[in-house]
Symmetry: C2
Subunit: 556 residues, 2 copies
């Protein structure tokens, strides 16, 4: 019987975070401890190292996720451990898990098996409070907005045209669509509203794209909250609370340090949605790693069509980051699913289906090439993989000239990715021609078309009438010179979540646009995106428990 | 020009919390640092000292609060410093401030002047995340409750008869009364709901009355969430999530250590509402102090009619605490207001009005005597107090045989309460006959009447028809053998908030009862209690700011 992730994590004898930080040259003066195993890292550390040359930056991405599982975070953690093992000073930068989903289907999320970050329980619960601070900041905007309306509405805010929602870090479907301000007049003005989950708040995206506390404050001020009766935009700065918001986020903006099971340093910081936001950890965390380590391994949400594209077009652009290589994670199970095998039948050997599913992988490889970056395929090994399947995949890679490595980090930790690490060191030494895919000064339509054609393989893009009107408005308001953040199903390269593999002969429909002016991008929605998840019939919360000694079970 | 509280706090050179803890004999093994100046104290420390004799326990309470200000927390902090100054090993136990009101009228709250606890900014912002954990636990109950209804409603919950609300630590009037679950069926079942401010959540009261992690879990399970269609109660334990809730609160249940401006150890832990809950810091924090220090100074919300009564009838009863003396704080300004002077005229000398206002003070003294405890009046000095007023008050005390001391802690810190401290040491050595006011086995009506007559000076109690029906129901359900938590205006001894001084010839009306079964008391509401505050026209948030170095302004 396999141990659960939680059991493996609980068996780990953690090192004091002071000692973990010391390995990478961070002294106590730059640490703020949260217990013995977590610490906030000062922003001053980055400021003092501003002029130092960046280390190498490795992005871990994946094929389109399937129910079969890929193991992107697991690979990221295991690769970081492996690089340290072969003597390369390496740090890992990850996203913070959201508390809401922990109580739902998912349980915890911080790698898996022997490639995890710890203390697992804390990381998956309140951690250092960043999510709570973001929730507070988001809801302070709402409270001040509704209070402004209630107290006379000097800004002439149109209550039918509010662009800001409340949020909670909870999977709570009944809060998606609500009517607020009911009852007597003292209860404020009645209007329609809804709650997002905290990671979908623009405050999260803003925090992750900020390059300093002052940049954070400026971006918070730029966030759009509503339109007035003349349809003119009203920003947070019009409410005069960007200072209070920045104060609320004064600690949340500092990266959090933890360790892998092998005691290597990890920064976990920020975790925006990967559809209506850009799905990467904070720029500040990544930059801090780049200044301190020779190699930084990081990841981005979902498959390369969403995560890598946004990492390379949004995060690297805003942060001035220069990536050196990309790891594309796949599993033989997931490739079979892309090749048409049903979830129930994934245990059966099926070389043909797997090779068919490689079309999905090939498309993502193509995307990475378009960005001008060297890459390697990491096959995250499962016990059900058969020798014939592995051999067929190796041959496929050889035929097409793709670098590839078998990874066993789930079972072996860093030892399971020594070959991957060695190959990456070589890839990182290659010169590359990284550049974002489009110019921000292109038209909104052209930017979206570029992504759809190059990354998704679409024939073109259709814009609904609503989207066309919005584009016209944004052009007038001068909001057209920003990167695009595509909100598309993660399940498929197309906007049809049933289309596995590499669909062809399809067009993408952009139904709606949303300005994230503080984050600095325009969100293009190709389908209905749920920004507040629900709980399943039997939530994971039902199995969670704690005993008198504080021992936790059920946080798998 | 006086310095603001924030400026005074920012000038303080804090000691590392490790060194502050060491003064009271707490070693590093029992501390979990949150930065250098805050720490969680392990529950194990209390467990190991279980059989040790308790130190002396001093409660600081006050006359009925007025707009003029009394300075209960300031006196508590200053008195703690003074006791340490005269060589008595003393700890202070305080309530945690709520973040919501910070953005409203109030700014920060952690004492004032030179009698403050620090780091002031952190204590008033997210502190160690306790409030956020309570918010999460409260809303996990709501999410699981509504999810249960949505997924088939096996427990047959009557959606018109839900007894649980959501919460946020935010002053947000528009969330008082809302309609949730609107839109398509996937958004859950539509019903009426509302948000409380977090400190009004029963989870807060439960946390503060728990004596261990397992007691916490048990109490969480007992919380009433709804009734089924047969009007039978449904508890959290029926939802099977008390384990998850206890897990969410695993850190929040540990007391938080900080320091006074004079570097003396303070535990700040828990802060329930003082009307619909009992308004005292956690039993665990108070007990920890009692085991480690020779003297513990603590406070309770509002005036003695609410705070002290609940401290002595609820908290001490549940915690097995034996108080030794009570400090009743008053100001000459506030006494004048109780004597009929308008707020605008408080600067003018008015001996007669002050003496008239002493009726309010006299009634609270009477209450403390009824509990069998020695007491002292602490007059918190203001610059506008005149020598004639002070002398008249001293004479009044002498005539009536009341111990009294002038306190200048706001201006002088511990040095301003040396006399108060010395007098208290003597009072604590007196034998006392402390006992709660009523037997929990008395009828609900009798318990409420006892409080109303003895503490408020009422002639009797009227119960509305609704209240009578509820009492009948609670008797049937066996919920009648619990202490009573009175929800009454804090502004007056009566249930009429305009009646200053010591009203006579009045009756109290109990309009409604609410069972707080996890906390273990029945709330009796005498008026409309607002459990979600609103923001004023110009919220304090508008003046808050932070600069690049992290320096905060506007958190006064």
């Amino acid at each position: 019987m396999f141990k659960t992730d939680l059991e493996i994590a609980q068996e780990c004898k953690l090192e004091h975070i002071r000692d973990v930080a010391a390995k990478i040259g961070i002294g106590e003066e730059d640490l703020e401890y949260y217990g013995n195993y977590k610490a906030k890292v000062s922003l001053d550390l980055l400021r003092r190292n501003e002029n130092k040359e960046d280390g190498k930056l490795i992005l871990v991405t994946a094929i389109n996720p399937t129910k079969a599982g890929e193991g992107k975070s697991t690979t990221t953690v295991g690769l970081g451990d492996a690089l340290n093992k072969i003597g390369k000073k390496t740090m890992i930068a990850l996203r913070e898990p959201s508390l809401g989903p922990v109580f739902g289907l998912k349980g915890g999320a911080a790698g898996g098996g022997y490639a995890q970050v710890v203390p697992m329980e804390d990381i998956n619960l309140h951690f250092t409070g960043d999510m709570h601070a973001i929730t507070t900041a988001n809801n302070l905007v709402s409270a001040c907005l509704d209070n402004h309306i209630h107290q006379g509405n000097e800004l002439d805010i149109d209550i039918e045209h509010v662009a800001w929602k409340r949020c909670l870090d909870m999977n709570d479907r009944t809060l998606r669509s609500i009517e607020i301000g009911q009852g007597p007049k003292a209860n404020g003005v009645e209007r329609h509203d809804g709650f997002n989950i905290t990671v979908a708040s623009e405050v999260m995206a803003v925090l992750c794209l900020s390059t300093s506390l002052m940049d954070l404050k400026r971006r918070l001020g730029e966030m759009l909250v509503a339109y007035n009766s003349k349809s003119e935009p009203i920003y947070v700065k019009d409410l005069k609370i960007e200072g209070a918001l920045a104060m609320v986020l004064k600690d949340a903006i500092k990266p959090n340090m933890v360790q892998t099971l092998e005691h290597n340093p990890v920064l976990i910081h920020g975790g925006p949605f990967a559809n209506i936001a850009h799905g990467c950890n904070s720029i500040l965390a990544t930059k801090t790693c780049l200044k301190l380590a020779d190699y930084t391994v990081t990841e981005a949400g979902f498959g390369a069509d969403l995560g890598a594209e946004k990492f390379l077009d949004i995060k690297c652009r805003f942060g001035g980051l220069k990536p050196n290589a990309v790891v594309i994670v796949a599993t033989i199970r997931a490739l079979k699913q892309h090749g048409g095998v049903a979830y129930e039948d994934l245990k059966e050997e099926n070389v043909d289906a797997m090779l068919e599913g490689c079309a999905n992988l090939a498309k993502h490889i193509d995307t990475v090439k378009h960005f001008g970056l060297p890459y390697i395929i990491a096959i995250n090994e499962f016990a059900t993989d058969t020798p014939s399947e592995v051999e067929a995949l190796q041959n496929w890679c050889k035929e097409h000239g793709h670098a590839m490595s078998l990874s066993q980090v789930w079972a072996k930790g860093g030892d399971g990715a020594i070959d991957l690490a060695n190959q990456l060191v070589e890839l990182c030494d290659q010169p590359n021609s990284y550049a974002p895919l489009y110019d921000v000064n292109d038209s909104i339509e052209h930017k979206i078309e570029t992504i759809a054609k190059v990354v998704y393989g679409a024939d073109g893009v259709d814009f609904t009438e609503e989207a066309q009107q919005q584009i016209a408005l944004y052009n007038t308001l001068g909001w057209d010179k920003m990167p695009i953040c595509m909100a598309k199903t993660q399940m498929s390269l197309s906007d049809n979540d049933k289309a596995y593999g590499a669909p062809i002969n399809f067009r993408i429909t952009v139904r709606e646009l949303r300005p994230s002016l503080g984050a600095g991008f325009i969100v293009a929605l190709t389908g209905k995106v749920l920004t507040m998840p629900g709980l399943p019939k039997a939530p994971a919360a039902l199995n969670m428990d704690i005993n008198e000694e504080g021992h936790i079970v059920g946080l798998f």
